[in-house]
């Protein structure tokens, strides 16, 4: 009976994990279930992402974690003054993560991770009221990272490794609020690129104050994706030397994947594990999204002016039985978007995340991990005030937005 009560309590407490901008916090099923904490949690190969320094303290020689989440996002928009309302029709995102670590010697482990910390998919109805800013965008990045983890003593370890990133983008928007061809079809531009690559790195450290009390630190570098080989397709422009030709041309753009600093603490007491993480995301690198076209069409300049933002994460784990571990978490995630820069392509305001999950040990080696998170956003009156009209004048687009994110996930943990 007591056990049942605990389960109910866990589920009740369970709620949000996502993050501002186009950061997507789904880098491990066990971590997600605990509010996406993990920089000081020695639990599984998910440490490749959260803090490679901790890998060397894992009990087993070989640790593998794989997981996938289904992300259901929905954004609604309305403007009472103008009578406009819209809702996104996003497909279900399925970010994947794979981690493995192997203890080579008593003092060194190696690891490998594949994960997707940045991405965004937003699809508004084509030609909706904000179509001059975005009709749809699909942004994806895959991080592939080998790591090394060194135990300097029983109390201190370090780790890190290079990151290889490959990214893709598909972004469609209308040229202006009004430009059409003679038949009234809205003029629009699609930029598309994939296989955009670059390198970065991460480094971490772990301090074990006692056997039950860990401190963690991790820093992941900023990576700028420079798109140079993609295509920009101009469609439905009027047939005139006064407008860009309807053709496919090249484009240049830069998208930053910002650096992230995490510090955290974890404490084990009997069957309980408590974790707290603080994340600082250095979004101020995202000043503007500027797209220049090879055919000489006017550049698209889109000020973003993001600010650095923080996330505060709390996680709890309870080893209910030998086979079952229950997890719950909460986090508060600040948006990097400043007032007046709220673009419908990444309509994120501050959010509260509620998470939960369970692990079931099928055998002593293999466990199934289930997680979910629900991200709750307050409705917000916001606008993007830096659009450029057909005459080049600055114009605003805004109204009331409300978003929600729900993501159930499933994973496997194998250790030997």
């Amino acid at each position: 009976m007591r056990k049942l009560l605990l389960v109910v309590l866990f589920i009740a407490v369970t709620m949000v994990t996502y993050a501002g901008g186009y950061r997507v916090s789904v880098q491990g099923q066990r971590a997600i279930a605990m509010g996406h904490t993990g920089v000081a949690v020695v639990n599984s190969a998910e440490l490749v992402f959260f803090n490679p320094a901790g890998l060397v303290y894992l009990e087993n020689k070989l640790n593998v974690s794989v997981g996938v989440s289904g992300i259901f996002t929905d954004v609604i928009f309305q403007n009472e003054e103008l009578g406009i309302s819209s809702e996104t029709d996003n497909s279900v995102g399925t970010p994947l993560n794979i981690y493995a670590s192997y203890q080579v010697t008593d003092w060194m482990s190696v690891g490998l991770g594949v994960y997707t910390p940045y991405g965004s998919e937003v699809s508004w109805p084509t030609d909706w009221a904000g179509s001059q800013l975005v009709n749809n965008i699909d942004l994806a990045s895959i991080y592939i990272q080998p790591v090394l983890s060194f135990k300097l003593s029983d109390h201190f370890s370090i780790g890190g490794g290079p990151i290889f990133v490959t990214g893709s983008v598909n972004f469609n928007r209308n040229a202006t609020r009004t430009t059409t061809d003679l038949e009234g079809n809205r003029s629009n531009i699609t930029v598309d690129d994939s296989g955009v690559t670059n390198w970065g790195w991460s480094v971490g450290a772990m301090v074990n104050l006692t056997e039950d009390l860990h401190l963690g630190f991790n820093y992941r570098s900023e990576i700028i994706l420079e798109s140079e080989d993609g295509t920009a397709t101009f469609a439905n422009f009027p047939n005139s030397p006064g407008a860009p030709p309807n053709e496919t041309t090249g484009f240049n753009a830069e998208l930053p994947l910002p650096a992230e600093l995490s510090v955290g603490i974890s404490y084990t007491y009997k069957k309980w594990l408590f974790a707290f993480d603080y994340n600082r995301q250095f979004w101020d690198v995202y000043e503007s999204l500027d797209i220049t076209f090879e055919n000489g069409a006017p550049s698209s300049v889109n000020p973003r002016n993001y600010k650095n933002s923080s996330a505060y994460r709390f996680g709890l784990q309870y080893q209910a039985t030998e086979k079952i571990a229950l997890r719950a978490g909460y986090y508060h995630d600040e948006t990097p978007v400043q007032p007046g820069f709220f673009a419908p392509e990444t309509p994120r305001n501050d959010s509260d995340g509620f998470t939960g999950g369970v692990s079931f040990a099928v055998t002593s080696k293999l466990a199934i991990d289930a997680s979910f998170f629900y991200l709750r956003f307050e409705e917000i009156d916001a606008s993007y005030d830096f659009g450029s009209g057909s005459t080049g004048a600055q114009e605003s687009f805004g109204g009331t937005y409300k978003s929600s994110v729900f993501a159930p996930g499933l994973g496997l943990t194998y250790k030997m």
Partner: protein, 508 residues
Amino acid sequence: MIKNIKYIAVLALGVLACEPEFDNPIEDAGTYTSGQADFSNYVALGNSLTAGFADGALYITGQENSYPNILSTRFAFAGGGEFTQPLMADNAGGFDGTPAVEQRFPRRLVLAFNADGTPSGPSVYTGAPATTPFGANLGGSFNNMGIPGARVYHLVTEAAGYGNPAGLATDPPVANPYFVRLASSPNAAVIDDAVAQNPTFFSLWIGNNDILGYATSGGVGVDHNETGNVVPATYSGNDITNNLVFAGAYTELVTKLVEGGTEGVLLNLPDVTSLPFFTTVPYNPIPLDEVTARATNMAYAAYNGGLQQAVAFGAISAEEASKRTINFVPGQNAVVILDEDLTDLTGLNPNLANFRQATPDDLLVLTSSALIGTLVDPSDPTSVLGVGVPLDDQYVLTPQEQAAVENARLSFNATIKALAEANNLAFYDVAADLSQAANGGIAFDGGVITSQFVAGGGFSLDGVHPTPRGHALVTNGILDVISVKYGVNVPKVNVADYGTVTISNEVN
């Protein structure tokens, strides 16, 4: 297995529960209201402005952006029903018919560009043929009863037959092909077809052509306030309608529309000086150097000398002689025009025609811009139109002609306002808004709408009819007055979401 289904159900519920929802969704009943008005069947009555005619033609996207159609999208927030329009067959505009028909009802204008990306000016679109059959009937009535070209007296019951295809072939034609398309029968009248739809709300914007026909033809027609002719069947398309004819016809229209207590809005008539058709071409578009100016003056020396003789004979005053004296100087010069209101001196001397140079008070019509400076006789370099050869009366609206137009307009507008008050209808002073657009402009988020040709954004390439953006402005103006009159609360449109002129180089 049954257990699993349970879990899947719980999960699905979880997903559903996460759908975001606003505290006050605008879809909720009570957000908007039609007040005391009933928008379930809105009928718009009027002329080309109501039809969505633009760029010198009627075409689909122009109709879709007509103020009644935009207004109907607003009414839809508060019980508005379907709003039907007699859409043309294409976006080229014009009618498909004989060469004579296609000349009378040409395809639309588009803004053409030079190869270097600068605008070269309005040109007739030739990228696709006109496909709307001339003289055909669509077999039903429509909520938009805007008939391009209609004058106030064309809409009344007495004008039955205005939609009879047989009247298209007479000379001059007595039927209007745009009404032929929607007339319920060959001998239907526009007002009767409108009332037969049992409108619950109406708008009426009519009378513009009763003065514009005269104004756009540079005043070559007759002012029937001067002649006292009150028989509209004898009027030509270039005449000014008599004030009594206007008042009688307008009263009939309003009386029939309000029958049964139907609510609506009346719109008045803008000043012609609000329209770029009359304000774009300057009175002094002729640049001359010193040598040419001197040579031209020598050509007019005999005319100028004759004027002084006429003064000596007492045929004209010294003041008129000075007004008529032609003098070119280095720099910008006023065009030479024919002015029928000058004293006729040809009896005295056949060479003393009614010439004078234009002044800032003369309004040169938009269509003169393509002609001024061209050679009337290609083999004669001195036959430059506006310099060696005077510009014909039809291209200039002189102050006397402007006064005739303005007097009629003020009388018509007084009638409209009085009928709005007498019938307790909403009244929109659209003339005031268009005057504001012409004198300083009207700001919206992201720009200013003015009456400047092409660049101002308010007027289409024919210089008379609004762009979609101009129609959006009129829509918001109507919403303002009906919100006061009837307690209507529906969302306005964002003027910035409506376009201006269409560019295309599919021109010959």
